[in-house]
């Protein structure tokens, strides 16, 4: 808190002289540095006149909390702004409001169950969380070469679909935060088409827990290829509608051009990756530079812009969705008309992946159930041990990274040779990129803070984990 050492209370927020505190928290209510204005509804003019009408206010900085419940802060993000008029002189992001202890919880569940936790971190890109984690576990196991080709193609397919749905949310909410509700409706509508496909393939629209160490849960369901082809047919036009709405809209350009500038040097020192780095002109994409899941076999380009501003980041995201459609088309071609295993052949690691629809929903296939229940006692024991106790992972540590929609999503997994992770740490791009919001916003106008945060596209579930 800067500026005033004025201890006079203002209005209703009287500074109590008697110490009536029940806990350490209560001191903050009667914060006696400067004057406190509680803004909760009411007429803005009255608040401003109350603040400005006082002579002493004119040369003071104003400290404002934006969030943690502000709709344009992308979830529970709190920004402490110090304002000189409308100019932001200092910005401090405060996080932790969505901390759920996922990393700690994963240490108490088997390696396979870990997927169910980590998919909930960055809830807009769940399949990237799962992929990063599974790639790390597979490298610890030393089974990277044994992952079936079809499983890798399905991972790529799902990740690229997820990239589109994530970018659509980013651009849609971005429009909403700048006051353009149409963009939001378009973005959400198009995202819905992707989520429908997720629902068809994985059974869930979010938090899929579909990618597992060793492969994926199950093969594509009947009709998925046709749905994907239909998706590929309509999406370019729908993305074109968003482009037509935003690419040259004068108000949009005024709000995004030369706003929240961050060049390559700034990105490097702050560890910023993803669309922000590519909008600064550096074509760094892990899918190209350090390919995983067979990305080197797909034909696609890395989208870049030179402007290093909010508009450039928007353009990069739009271009990336086009490239994702290209990759999805190649995935569909590889998957169509072929079949094969989608889970590693090693029965000590791979969970049963031939599921079937029963009267009570999706579950193990009748063949598998018949085998373990009435044919082989050993198979039943094996199934039980694999599912309850899990498999052992050789001791060691590994770092695996994927290019998520927000940048490099890394998974640092440590094993002590047991059936559960010893430590899993996720290097979430939102967490790292959020540090740049101060650099992007300080010295600018308060309205541009919204654009800066939106262009970073932080997902607080990933930031706080």
């Amino acid at each position: 808190m800067t500026a005033s050492a004025d201890n006079q209370a203002h209005g209703a927020t009287a500074t109590g002289s008697a110490d009536t505190r029940d806990s350490d928290y209560d001191g903050y209510d009667d914060y006696d540095e400067g004057r406190v204005y509680n803004v909760a509804g009411g007429d803005w003019d009255e608040i401003v006149s109350g603040a400005v009408g006082d002579d002493r206010s004119s040369d003071e900085h104003m400290v404002i909390n934006m969030g943690p419940q502000h709709p344009s802060t992308h979830g529970v993000l709190r920004l402490i702004l110090t304002l000189d008029g409308e100019t932001v002189t200092e910005l401090r992001p405060v996080i932790g409001y969505l901390h759920t202890g996922i990393e700690k919880n994963m240490e108490f569940r088997t390696w396979t169950q870990g997927v169910t936790f980590c998919t909930r971190m960055d809830y807009l890109s769940p399949l990237f969380n799962e992929s990063a984690y599974c790639l790390a576990v597979e490298r610890l196991l030393g089974i990277e070469a044994e992952i079936p080709e079809r499983a890798s193609v399905m991972r790529v397919l799902l990740m690229e679909l997820n990239r589109i749905s994530s970018h659509l949310t980013a651009i849609g909410t971005f429009g909403l935060e700048l006051g353009a509700t149409t963009v939001f409706i378009y973005g959400m509508r198009e995202r819905e088409k992707t989520l429908d496909i997720f629902e068809l393939i994985t059974g869930l629209r979010m938090n899929h827990a579909f990618i597992r160490p060793g492969g994926v849960v199950q093969d594509l369901p009947a009709g998925a290829i046709e749905r994907l082809r239909e998706y590929l047919r309509v999406m370019p036009g729908l993305l074109g509608e968003i482009r037509a709405l935003l690419d040259h809209a004068p108000v949009y350009l005024a709000r995004t051009r030369n706003i929240a500038y961050l060049d390559v040097t700034g990105c490097m020192s702050l560890g910023v990756t993803g669309p922000i780095l590519r909008a600064a002109g550096l074509p760094w994409d892990l899918r190209k530079s350090q390919p995983y899941c067979g990305y080197e076999t797909y034909d696609f380009d890395v989208a870049t812009q030179q402007s290093a501003d909010v508009y450039g980041r928007y353009r990069v995201r739009m271009d990336e969705m086009d490239q994702s459609l290209r990759i999805i088309a190649q995935c569909v071609d590889r998957l169509a008309g072929t079949s094969g295993p989608v889970m590693i052949g090693d029965a000590k690691i791979g969970w049963p992946a031939k599921l079937a629809l029963g009267p009570d929903g999706m579950g193990n296939s009748p063949d598998h159930i018949a085998h373990i229940m009435s044919q082989s006692m050993e198979a039943l024991i094996h199934h039980f041990k694999l599912v309850t106790e899990g498999f052992r992972v050789p001791a060691g540590q590994v770092y695996a990274a994927v290019e998520s929609p927000r940048g490099e999503l890394g998974c640092h997994a440590v094993s002590d040779g047991g059936t559960r992770p010893y430590r899993v740490h996720f290097r979430d791009p939102s967490f790292t990129n959020l540090q740049a919001v101060s650099v992007m916003s300080e010295g600018g106008m308060i309205a541009d803070v919204i654009a800066a945060v939106a262009s970073i596209d932080p997902v607080m579930g990933g930031v706080d984990r």
Binding site: K104, G271, K385
Partner: protein, 268 residues
């Protein structure tokens, strides 16, 4: 399934003094026997394995072993950290040579700064002495032949049985120029949980070091504002440490205390 970190016979000599507590008891045993007769290497390895400290046991907070299968033997023993011999393979030798050259132009020698080099799972890890961390990181960033421009943050790991080096800070570095990765690992004892801050070299470590302080109690000396970042400011304890329980923590809010979930209500 290969087990690259399983203790190989004879390989332990590479570890030298840096091995810490792991396998110390086994070493005492073997010297006592070795003076009278030449022990069978296989039997010795088996004894070493059993003498390793139990890293952990039990699961899901149960008081018994919690092992539902009866065969799991949930006592997990940690393999000692083994130094890798040259050549390291891939581009790893080049990084080590360049760093040694670079450190020769100023700063500590490679041998003094890097106590151990480990290559495992396709990653290169330098175990750096904490007092030399900043100078090593600065060389890695600034030397154009190394050019690790980007730090991908800090990940803390707590090894309560690793006596004298319970807390580990793991840094992942990325060179975009050369498309290479490198891991730095620094250790600190629980009694003196201090590691120099890398914020001066890699500003991106700001949030990451605050997170590691928050979760592990590792103090990063020189950090501009080392405060909690995920947990509330007045939280007691560092939740990711192994001696911190999962759950069972009462929730306090404005003077009132809400008991942990397992103590809230009894249906008996």
């Amino acid at each position: 399934m290969t087990q690259p970190n399983e203790p190989a016979q004879g390989g332990a000599a590479q570890g030298g003094a840096a091995q810490g507590g792991a396998g110390k008891g086994a070493g005492d045993d073997s010297t006592g026997q070795g003076s009278t007769a030449v022990p069978d290497p296989a039997a010795l390895a088996g004894r070493e394995r059993l003498a390793e400290q139990v890293a952990r046991s039990g699961m899901f907070g149960t008081m018994t072993t919690g092992d539902t299968s009866g065969y799991g033997g949930l006592q997990v023993r940690r393999a000692p950290r083994l130094a890798s011999p040259r050549p390291y393979g891939s581009y790893f030798d080049e990084i080590a040579d360049r760093l040694a050259d670079s450190l020769a132009t100023g700063g500590p020698s490679f041998g003094a700064a890097v106590e151990q080099v480990v290559v495992a799972n396709g990653d290169l890890t330098f175990y750096v002495q904490r007092e030399h961390l900043i100078s090593v990181a600065a060389k890695l960033r600034d030397d154009p032949t190394l050019a690790f421009e980007m730090c991908l943050g800090v990940s803390g790991v707590h090894y309560p049985t690793d006596t004298g080096q319970e807390l580990h800070a793991v840094y992942h570095l990325l060179s975009i120029t050369h498309n290479r990765r490198l891991r730095l690992e620094v250790t600190a004892p629980d009694a003196d949980p201090h590691v120099p801050s890398l914020v001066g070299v890699y500003p991106t470590c700001n949030f990451h070091e605050r997170e590691t302080w928050d979760f592990f109690g590792l103090v990063f000396d020189g950090h501009p504002a080392l405060t909690r970042i995920e947990m509330p400011d007045d939280w007691r304890g560092h939740p990711q440490r192994k001696d911190y329980p999962l759950g069972g923590i009462p929730v306090e809010y404005r003077g009132a205390t809400i008991p942990p979930p397992d103590e809230r209500r009894s249906y008996e």
